[in-house]
Symmetry: C2
Subunit: 455 residues, 2 copies
């Protein structure tokens, strides 16, 4: 199915034919209903939200943007709000409450039943991006004395309110997590079997602690192909689960965060268009300033060679090309290593293997580039449009380029791994950072080679 | 659960206590068994693989690296191979067959039953990275005349061989996809209900075509929170499904590919360490060469200002800093826009909103940087270590920097969107490309400002 056109819905909305609009909306996927609502002006959005069947409205609510959610909460009655809060899964309620003003939070919590309020408050208290803060508490849990028949009966009775029924969890009298029971096993087993005889137990149970980072949850789910990850407290008591749809969102969020760090920006949780101009500026200015100040070094290097440069102005013209090539070469390597570290395909222990590989790759790349550059400059010199003339001067540039590429690639693999070793985020050692460091080194190499061959 | 130590397993292996080793392995998760096998030498790997229970061995096989899979296939008998092929899910078999030499493929297909062979051959024919090529054909499908009782009975009978039973698909006499039935609905319904009365139908059925790109499958699953996506042919006949565990892998693969393109490398399917030196070099050299050659332009620009530079050598020293700042500023913007486009948070239609935002952000960032730079250069000049002295010269650098940042950010948002508009991959317009383009422009601005104020 390709995209979805809302034209007929807009027409009905314009005609004020709400009855027909409601009929059409009910037939749609909740995600599409939410998307349609997002495109309507706020007064229409509130209107349509209220004509939806109550339980469908609650489902749609979870897919709306925070600002529209807040407007809906402000426009509905306490009774409606109370129903909405009870219908929402705890993780969706918490997602919303984490973003809205305290006054809205107070009103929402006041509308909840004491039990729901207690649960929401507990989840709200976990540190940001921890497993506890993204989990939901609506999971299927059985006592380990249950039979298959009892387990299936319980699912039929309570399954509608659970975020997922496809992976069930088995606990003992003290709520300790003893096993995992995929619904498939349950359904294919004999009715009188005890669930503790068919559950996955001991070493095979994968779980995370409430305080683990959400990134670890995603790594776990990806590695073990899980549909949901159980979250336990320090005493191994089951307190919640994180389902695969949320894990997919976490994966994309972490990937975005890595990319933003790699471009040296403070990661933001909001989408590009929703982020204000000042927030954008604030998240970008710090590193731009740091890199700008640190290029004082390259200035001093060029400054130190002032006299040589005045003699050979042609040498100056090649500086951007040499720096650019070094930066690009280092950027390629650091990107590969940062990604490899993030996916666990490269570890700190692999450093010497990586370095040895990069040395060889950079010799090939650097060599090819040097030859290419020689051809380029020689041709340009023939046509009389090259600042550097004379084979020696061209050779200086080519040798400097080759050495620069080798050094850049070595730095490009060393820094992310070094940073990982001291438990910082390797993503910081991406393009812009590598480029700034490589710039100075490229210059030193260039001038050293020039000095040896030309003076 | 944190990582997993294989020490005790290695000990058993060393003692040659295979019986005990087998017992311990059986208790592990298949993913961990595969990981353990990967760390043993190939002769031990083959040995352990053969002592595992046959069906467990088949499961483990799917998680091994291709080269080890090929070695196993070469070492087992035709009967064992035949069992293995039938046990594997079609998508895992195809993943493996796509990577191994033709001789191995022939032997595997010869060992398969005619039916399995036909299915594998069909899936192998779909273009790389298409939905058809990553799907599996082991899905639960019901005829739309079934009752809930009949449907559950069929799942109990055949569920063990299906890749997932949690989303079932409803087809008519012509195998056309008529509806989707989450197992949850089935399990919570009355036994005599007709499944066509409880299935999700019409507009709500999300499916992809066999020839759609795998990226579209991932987008669909992410947007609609699906556990599996049905794949249909041009006549809307159900031919396979793609499950969420494979979709998670697709998402990570697409993210890696985007990153590699952003660093201007030809994307590779293998992990960093598994890729050979020449393949690494080949995937990196093309763009390095193109960017190197294109910096001929910056050389010519500097060349054109040769005389002015000879007069004011100090100006030269600031070139790297100005270019670097412009490149970093443009890189930040293009990263955000490329990511926004990939996640669908930014579309081509948003261009003018984006541009207007970037103009304002860049004025703030550029202004702050100019002020910061003025302070830096003025201080350095006081200490007598700055090449450019005199307030006018410093002002030239600051004004050029401010203008450079504004232009860089405008280019950084324009190029990815422009490239998207002509249906190319925006990821190509990332850091290195933007930097190369911005370099020349920064220079032109710098020299223009210098000419106006200094000469």
């Amino acid at each position: 199915m390709e995209g979805f056109s809302f034209d007929s819905l807009f027409e009905l909305l314009e005609q004020g034919n709400l009855k027909q609009l409601r009929e059409e909306l009910i037939d749609l996927n909740v995600v599409d209903i939410a998307e349609f609502l997002e495109t309507t002006p706020i007064d229409k959005l509130l209107l349509i939200f209220r004509i939806l069947p109550k339980s469908l409205a609650a489902e749609v609510f979870a897919y709306l943007e925070t600002d529209n959610q807040a407007k809906i909460v402000n426009s509905i009655t306490d009774t409606e709000l109370s129903y909405l809060v009870e219908e929402l899964y705890v993780d969706d309620a918490v997602d919303f409450l984490e973003e809205v003003p305290a006054s809205v939070v107070r009103r929402v919590l006041a509308s909840a039943t004491p039990q729901t309020r207690e649960v929401i408050n507990r989840v709200l208290k976990y540190p940001e991006n921890s497993a506890g803060s993204v989990m939901t508490t609506e999971m299927v849990e059985f006592h380990n004395r249950y039979t298959v028949r009892e387990a299936i009966a319980q699912i039929r009775r309570t399954g509608l309110d659970k975020e997922t029924i496809y992976t069930c969890y088995v606990i003992n009298d003290h709520r300790k997590l003893k096993g995992v029971l995929p619904l498939r096993r349950l359904l294919l087993a004999e009715e009188d079997t005890l669930i503790k005889d068919i559950m996955v137990e001991d070493e095979q149970v994968i779980s995370v602690n409430t305080h683990d980072d959400q990134e670890q949850v995603a790594d776990m789910a990806r590695k073990y192909d899980l549909l949901s990850v159980p979250v336990v407290d320090n005493e191994n008591r089951l307190v919640g689960i994180i389902t695969i749809d949320d894990i997919v969102d976490i994966i994309e969020e972490e990937n975005t965060e890595d990319l933003e760090k790699m471009a040296l920006m403070t990661p933001s949780e909001e989408t590009y268009l929703k982020t204000g101009v000042f927030t954008h500026a604030k998240s970008r200015i710090l590193w731009l300033m740091i890199l700008m100040v640190s290029s004082t070094l390259t200035e001093q290097i060029i400054n130190g060679f002032e006299n040589s440069l005045a003699m050979f102005v042609g040498l100056t013209a090649c500086i951007p090309m040499l720096m650019g090539t070094g930066g690009n070469a280092g950027n390629q390597t650091s990107t590969l290593i940062i990604r490899g570290l993030a996916l666990g395909e490269v570890t700190v222990k692999d450093y010497f293997r990586v370095l040895w590989k990069e040395v060889r790759v950079s010799l090939i790349c650097g060599g090819a580039l040097a030859v290419g550059n020689f051809a380029r400059m020689w041709l340009l010199a023939q046509w009389g449009i090259q600042p550097v003339s004379g084979v020696t001067a061209i050779l200086v540039v080519c040798i400097a380029m080759m050495l620069g590429v080798v050094v850049a690639k070595c730095i490009g693999c060393t820094l992310p791994i070094a940073v990982k070793l001291i438990h910082l985020d390797p993503a910081l050692m991406a393009g812009p950072m590598i480029t700034t460091i490589v710039d100075g080194i490229s210059l030193v190499i260039y001038f050293a080679v020039a000095r040896m061959l030309l003076m």
